[in-house]
Amino acid sequence: MDEARLTVVAGIIAGVLGCRPQDVPADAPVGSLPQWDSIAHLSIVLAFEEKLGRQLTPDEIAALKTVASLADLLPSEAGTPA
């Protein structure tokens, strides 16, 4: 996992939760941060989809387990799919 993608995802999550990006560890399970409830999760995924430029499929949604699993869905810096 490259740092650039993790930084992007941490920024999105921090923006929704109102915390600092450095407080969003890559291995944090979805919902593990205090402000990360079901409504915040909705906002995070919608913001992520806007960044990604497409909707996640239901299978991708179900596979979101950690912050890193979100970052995995972003294209790599080279522009190829992760």
Partner: protein, 190 residues
């Protein structure tokens, strides 16, 4: 085992979970079918329901194998949502929940109520497997199941349509077994 306990009033930290019969559940929820956002989240379809149609569609609570509980904030009298449980097959139970009162959204109602009811189910029945099906884009519901420890075990692709929007949905299947719940509970309790 004491399945009759499932038809009793149950208390969680902030809520009374009041058992309803089929008629009571129908009377409570029929007005909520006019709330398109709620009914879409609860059933996967925002279609307008007739009285007869909703009576036939709603879970047929019989307090033996199918149960509906109104979720009532402690000290209040107006339900904010409902929880459904339906026993079927081999020691299996299908779960459903809907919170209609928006002032309670994002306040942990689903987590609290469901955790309390799951404890109650496992304590008072021989159910070994909990099961739920969720519209794939219902992000809060997916979140809530996974946070409680349910595993995504399959997807029924393009298996449900909403006649109002014309959208076709994938349905995500979640399940959790008794031993997994007990293991997580033991971990939580240290």
């Amino acid at each position: 085992m004491g399945r009759q306990a499932l038809r009793e009033r149950i208390e969680s930290e902030r809520f009374d979970l009041v058992p309803l019969n089929r008629w009571q559940a129908f009377r409570l929820t029929y007005p909520w079918t006019r709330d398109i956002e709620f009914v879409t989240s609860f059933t996967g379809s925002g279609a307008t329901r007739s009285l007869r149609g909703w009576y036939r569609e709603m879970i047929r609570a019989n307090k033996r194998r199918r149960f509906v509980h109104a979720i009532v904030p402690r000290g209040g009298s107006v339900p904010i949502g409902i929880h459904t449980m339906s026993m079927y097959g081999y020691r299996s139970c299908r779960l459903g929940i809907g919170i209609q009162d928006r002032s309670w959204w994002g306040k942990g109602v689903v987590q609290e109520v469901r955790a309390r009811l799951i404890d109650h189910i496992f304590e008072h029945s021989d159910v070994e497997r909990l099961h739920a099906e969720v519209v794939g884009r219902n992000l809060p519901s997916v979140f809530n199941y996974q946070k409680l420890g349910f595993a995504h075990v399959g997807t029924m692709h393009r298996s449900k349509s909403d006649p109002v929007t014309g959208q076709v949905h994938d349905m995500l299947i979640f399940e959790m077994f008794r031993d997994e719940w007990m293991r997580r509970k033991a971990e939580r309790n240290g």
